[in-house]
């Protein structure tokens, strides 16, 4: 037994530099805060610049009309590009989300073996692939086979880009679900597949949705693979075998034109693209996460 005198003796070996530790604490806090500011400055200035330059060109016509003739007095709008981007996001999610989520489930629940490791490795490689290469791949597989540029080729390329991101985030968020949930499910005599789909997926929902939105935001801004797949078009959607326009592509084209009106429209397009991604993100989160009690605030459970 260590007596109280011995304890006082032992305690003398402790460093009692509390005030200097508190100073260090303040300094580190300052550095952290400074880094946050440093990270926010570019983001803020980009958004500010886009809003400042983009807002003046906004109008109903800009949002709905097809582009006018290059260099003419009537610059038209970016209607087909908005339509194309929305369609591409929807269609590529249709393939990318289910395949990605199921892939993630496989890796997390059934992938603790050689095959799982192999798939995980190739999935990671795919995630780091330059998107332009994926665009070329879609060009070779879809465009050359069918003989025309089309929104289907674009969808194919974008869903391939979405896949690895969703797979990875699904796997990671499933792995974060405490093992006790799984055990509680088994203890209730629930089938493994049902546990995965009804207990684990709902517990991991917030992580899943973050992953999906991340990948949506990523493909919504992709330009390079679209050049080889949907090509670009001045008209609205007219069939799955026709070239199609999309916002990033349109912004790229407009920014390259030597007319002030075109540049201004490019800013407007960039603003619209950001707004689409932002509202999708907020909307999806609201739809899927609002029912959760406490809004996901983390709290140290104090017991009773």
């Amino acid at each position: 037994m260590i007596t109280i005198e011995q304890r006082a003796e032992f305690r003398k070996h402790f460093r009692n530099n509390i005030s200097s530790r508190l100073v260090t604490d303040k300094i580190v806090k300052g550095i952290v805060f400074g880094c946050v500011l440093l990270a926010i400055v570019p983001l803020g200035s980009i958004i500010l610049e886009i809003v400042r330059n983009g807002v003046p060109v906004l109008s109903i016509e800009f949002l709905t009309a097809p582009p006018g003739a290059v260099g003419s007095a009537d610059p038209g709008g970016i209607g087909p590009a908005i339509q194309g981007t929305l369609m591409l996001i929807g269609m590529s999610s249709l393939i990318g989300v289910p395949v990605g989520v199921l892939g993630g489930i496989f890796l997390s629940e059934y992938g603790n073996n050689r095959y799982g490791n192999m798939i995980r490795f190739f999935n990671d490689v795919l995630a780091e692939f330059p998107t332009i290469v994926i665009g070329l791949f879609a060009f070779a597989v879809i465009v050359l086979t069918f003989g025309y540029f089309s929104i289907v080729a674009g969808m194919f390329a974008l869903s391939v880009i979405m896949l690895p991101v969703i797979t990875r985030t699904t796997e990671e968020s499933l792995k974060l679900v405490p093992v006790t949930y799984r055990e509680a499910g088994y203890a209730l005599g629930i089938k493994r597949s049902v546990i995965i789909l009804r207990i684990l997926l709902t517990s991991a929902k917030s992580g899943l949705i973050t992953g999906i939105m991340l990948s949506v935001a990523r493909v919504a801004g992709e330009t390079a693979p679209l050049i080889f797949t949907i090509l670009g078009n001045d008209d609205f959607f007219s069939g799955f075998d026709q070239p199609m326009d999309a916002l990033p592509l349109r912004i790229y084209r407009l920014a390259n034109l030597p007319y002030d009106s075109a540049t201004a429209q490019g800013w407007g397009g960039a603003l619209i693209l950001i707004l689409i991604i932002l509202s999708l993100n907020v909307g999806v989160r609201y739809l899927f996460l609002r029912k959760r009690g406490g809004g996901g605030r983390f709290r140290i459970t104090a017991g009773r």
């Binding site: 037994m1 032992f10 070996h13 460093r15 508190l22 140290i300 017991g303």
Partner: protein, 282 residues
């Protein structure tokens, strides 16, 4: 709701009790209090979990806190070493005096004082990446103890105090998580003892353990109280009877009754206490 009304009417009794009884001390000997909690009010999100609790803890004695779930026992315990305020949206007012010095007076002193108040949690929580030795030595190393000999001496001393030394002396390099649940909990107690505390707060330390491991912990508490002031939260009333000298019964955030354990369990003065210790609710 009836219970609340009861409480109101008994407030006066309660205060009397606290000031006069239960410590029927000889007039010559001033009772020695190690830790004194004054007017502790603790809240989460503005909801009061602990309402103006006053309590004095005797040196070298075990004080048990009992009460139904959600009555504020753990919250109160966490106020005693300023752990409560670490939770988001939690607030505390009042004073906690350790040897007459207020823990809540300033932050700097609080860190020094907190070293004198060790805490053991409900579930064993050894640091998962550390060995048995490193788990016990963690508080020493991170508080700037560089002397290897002193560290060795303290680690062995603390492991001996929790009766773990003989079981692990050849496996000190093994991960702390490799131990059984009961051993892990004793390891955590050794870790708490290593920073040389004078007060030991235990939050249901045996509720996750089997009877044999529980018995070991209780034996250890009986041994430790010769040198330490121990405050233990427990749901197990038999445990309170077995290990504690004084018992406080909390209900809905109030300290309803506080006195010698024998008196609380055999001759409670308050109706709610009586019902609770007889197992009529809770």
């Amino acid at each position: 709701m009836e219970g609340v009304a009861d409480l109101e009417s008994q407030q006066v009794d309660k205060m009397e009790m606290l000031t006069k009884t239960p410590f029927t001390q000889k007039a010559t000997e001033e009772p020695q209090y190690k830790l004194i909690a004054e007017n502790i009010v603790a809240s989460y999100n503005g909801i009061e979990a602990v309402k103006k609790v006053n309590m004095k803890f005797r040196d070298r004695a075990v004080t048990a806190l009992i009460g139904p779930s959600g009555c504020g026992k753990t919250t109160f315990l966490r106020c005693l070493n300023r752990m409560h305020e670490l939770t988001k949206s939690a607030k505390v007012t009042g004073r906690v005096l350790l040897d007459g010095q207020d823990l809540y007076s300033n932050r700097e002193d609080a860190i020094i004082h907190r070293r004198k108040i060790g805490m053991v949690f409900q579930k064993p929580n050894p640091f998962p990446t550390m060995s048995i030795y490193d788990n016990v030595a963690a508080g020493l190393k991170l508080n700037g103890v560089k002397d290897k000999k002193i560290t060795d001496q303290i680690v062995q001393g603390c492991l001996e105090m929790v009766y773990l030394w003989d079981e692990v002396k050849h496996d000190l390099k093994k991960p702390g998580m490799s131990l059984s649940g009961g051993q892990q909990q004793r390891l955590c107690i050794a870790r708490a003892l290593a920073i040389q505390p004078e007060v030991l707060l235990m939050d249901e330390p045996a509720s996750a353990l089997d009877p044999i491991a529980t018995q070991k912990i209780e034996e250890m508490i009986n041994e430790l109280k010769k040198e330490y002031t121990i405050i233990i939260v427990t749901h197990n009333m038999q445990q309170a009877v077995r290990v504690s000298d004084y018992t406080g019964f909390m209900y809905l955030g109030d300290l309803v009754e506080f006195g010698e354990t024998k008196q609380i369990f055999e001759n409670p003065r308050n109706e709610i206490t009586a019902k609770y210790v007889q197992g009529q609710f809770g």
